[in-house]
């Protein structure tokens, strides 16, 4: 069995900004290799791990995806000892001052994001307003060293180390969506003791935070019969309206909405009920904000499903999730995968 907390902490400590996922991909590949029959990397960098089923070929297949890319920053300019920055993925600039970062220059440089005092900002700048354009990264190095070691386009990762909070809860950056990578690992672990009829492709996808390009192309290449995206969803926390959020640690969410095939949703719901895995129904709009959005329309179209893991403080370096919810998501995925048979597709039909 995988030591899930140790693996997750390793994933959270690894860089892997959208489009540059190699460091985290290597860690995932190492964790998944003993659990699958075949492992490869797609042309856009997604990790494809195949657990073979035993139905005769052509076998139906299930794709389960979790995106491994991280939000972060990029260098846009040098200003003496300082770096100017832009975002990779959506970030509220107000959480940035004081964040510890790693600048991936000619070598990795620790630094911190800072906000200059207001007299150094544009005259129309509101006293307390924080705008990304005006934030700087300070590496503590002298200007000539900064010039030697960094350049425009260098990536910047959050350096916040994972933190264990009380009650099987972990905080860190990029739990969106490496919590789901951990859930897929739970699923692959569970499937070790199970016979599979279908092929199961576990996919750690790339570029979700920017273009969804990884999952779109993986779904095209692998052409699964069904696809499930596992992503994070809003957990109740201060300032988050309760009607939009789900209690962390109290179960996963099953999404319904335009990105989700209603028949597939019903199968998941019935399965969760039967296994007594706690869940809430999450109604999603026309864009679920997950890999399912693109997988659904890959090639001739694929029936898709989305599972959510409640997460606090999304897109900050101190995202928080419950290990219990990760385990629940993994178990439900495994039970679903193990239950797939020759009859399944006949149930995934429109009314």
């Amino acid at each position: 069995m995988t030591d899930l907390l140790a693996l997750l902490k390793k994933l959270l400590a690894a860089p892997g900004l959208s489009g540059h996922e190699a460091p985290v991909r290597e860690i995932i590949a190492e964790a998944w290799r003993p659990l699958v029959d075949e492992i490869s990397v797609s042309r856009l960098g997604s990790l494809h791990a195949l657990r073979r089923g035993d139905l005769p070929e052509p076998r139906p297949s299930l794709l389960i995806s979790a995106h491994m890319d991280a939000i972060g920053l990029m260098v846009t300019g040098l200003a003496g000892e300082f770096l100017r920055i832009t975002e990779v993925g959506g970030i509220d600039a107000r959480i940035l001052p004081g964040q510890l970062v790693t600048v991936h220059g000619r070598k990795d440089l620790p630094g911190v994001i800072v906000q200059p005092p207001s007299h150094l900002l544009p005259p129309d700048h509101h006293e307390d307003h924080v705008s990304l354009d005006n934030l700087l990264v300070d590496t503590g190095l002298a200007a000539d060293e900064v010039r030697r070691l960094t350049r425009v386009g260098d990536l910047i990762s959050f350096a916040q180390a994972p933190i264990e909070l009380g009650g099987e809860v972990i905080a860190g950056h990029t739990l969106d969506d490496r919590a789901a990578v951990a859930a897929l690992t739970v699923c692959l672990d569970e499937l070790q003791k199970r016979q599979l009829a279908w092929d199961v492709w576990a996919v750690a996808s790339t570029q979700e935070e920017e273009t969804l390009g990884g999952a779109a192309t993986s779904a095209f290449q692998l052409r699964p019969s069904l696809a499930v995206a596992v992503d994070v969803t809003f957990a109740s926390s201060p300032g988050t309206p309760s009607y939009l959020a789900f209690e962390m640690g109290k179960g996963i969410t099953l999404l319904m909405g335009p990105n989700i095939h209603p028949a597939l949703y019903k199968v998941f719901k019935a399965l969760a009920d039967r296994l007594e895995i706690p869940y809430k129904v999450e109604v999603s709009g026309p864009h679920s904000g997950t890999d399912a959005y693109t997988m659904q329309v890959a090639a001739e179209g694929i029936p898709t499903m989305v599972m959510g893991i409640p997460l606090r403080y999304m897109h900050t370096p101190v995202e928080v999730v419950s290990m219990k919810d990760i385990a629940r998501a993994g178990r439900l995925l495994a039970e679903f995968a193990a239950g797939l048979d020759t009859e399944t597709m006949s149930k995934i039909v429109w009314e």
Partner: protein, 361 residues
């Protein structure tokens, strides 16, 4: 024959940097300085003639020198740091809090904290960007809307009144040091080094003070009690030596990293004693130690409380410049710290007892 009983010169080496790491990683929010006080007492006690903890929690130590007419010199560094105080248990591991001292409120959202004496890990979370509007993101995040989240399992370990600090561990960054609370652990570490290597030509009175960040409250009573002839305050001054948005010259930098110890001539709380300023400048120039005059203007150090005690105490501040004081991660240059210690030590060696006492004219 070389005497072997003379103290070695103070210096900043690997041991002193390790001590600064220990001091900055400790939590010592104004009014709750116990963790730092115990480290200070542990190190000061074996080195001095007298040490006591006063009614406010200041650590007051005396190291007597030798010879006639030696001056009583007070050195001050504050033990407290800015941070937070828990005000209400919102259940499920969420706590309301207020800032203590001038914690920079633009730097709170999305940061880890340590709560209470056990350093319980917590998070100051922030609303997901997905649920904010463009207008909302143009507004500052109010402290009222933030909570400290220690997780559902640790709620019972935290209670109102507990203090919290930013949870940033000390790190070396090339020629620089990055940590929380460099303001004023730099001063505390400098003073510890001076106390343990005290020059013999003075009586060194050391005050490790409390509650500087909430109104210079500890230093006043410390100076009253120790009754010195003069005082030098060791602090960390904000360096605002950042580029301006349009590349124009930054003329309001206050102090610059790498330019040496910052000598105060005037701030909002103190007009430094000109004789002490001159003594520091002349000492630096004679010894070839780089220094800078901290740009006169706002701010204040413990000197503000010290110089008005009793019939007046000639006072000056010497600070190690640091960027981003009162935020999760401040940055200073190791060279500035070394030069600050060198300057203050040389200045102490050059002091005599003449001129500081109240005399008839």
């Amino acid at each position: 024959m070389t005497p072997t009983n003379l103290p070695k010169n103070p210096k900043i080496g690997a041991a002193q940097i390790r001590l600064l790491e220990r001091l900055t990683n400790a939590c010592s929010v104004s009014g709750d300085e116990g963790e730092l006080r115990s480290i200070v007492l542990e190190l000061v006690r074996p080195a001095v003639d007298e040490v006591r903890v006063d009614a406010l929690g200041n650590v007051l130590a005396t190291k007597r020198g030798q010879g006639e007419g030696r001056p009583k010199v007070l050195l001050v560094a504050h033990m407290d740091e800015v941070g937070f105080i828990i005000t209400h248990d919102d259940n499920e591991g969420f706590f309301r809090f207020e800032t203590v001292g001038g914690a920079d409120v633009r730097y709170l959202a999305g940061k880890p904290v340590w709560v209470g004496k056990e350093h319980i890990p917590g998070i100051i979370g922030s609303k997901p960007i997905h649920l904010t509007t463009w207008e909302e993101r143009r507004q500052p995040i109010s402290v009222d809307s933030l909570r400290i989240d220690v997780g559902p399992g640790n709620g019972s370990k935290v209670k109102p009144g507990d203090r919290a600090t930013f949870a940033t561990s000390f790190t070396r960054l090339g020629p620089s040091l990055r940590a929380k609370a460099l303001d004023d652990r730099l001063g505390v570490a400098t003073l510890l080094e001076l106390v343990t290597h005290a020059p013999q030509n003075i009586d060194l009175l050391a005050a490790f003070t409390v509650q500087e960040e909430v109104g210079l409250r500890g230093a006043g009573v410390a100076a009253y009690a120790l009754d010195p002839d003069l005082a030098i305050v060791l602090d960390s001054t904000p360096a605002h030596d950042l580029p301006s948005w349009d590349g124009s010259e930054n003329t309001r930098y206050d102090a610059r990293l790498g330019a040496g110890p910052a000598i105060y001539v005037a701030d909002r709380a103190t007009l430094s004693d000109p004789r002490l300023v001159r003594h520091l400048v002349e000492t630096a120039e004679k010894a070839g130690i780089p220094y800078q005059i901290r740009q006169p203007g706002g701010g204040g150090t413990d000197a503000g409380a010290v110089h008005r005690q009793r019939a007046g105490i000639p006072s000056v501040s010497v600070s190690v410049p640091a960027r981003y004081n009162h935020t999760p991660a401040a940055i200073c240059r190791l060279s500035d710290w070394k030069n600050t210690l060198a300057l203050v030590y040389a200045a102490l060696l050059g002091l005599d007892g003449k001129g500081w006492k109240v005399e008839g004219v």
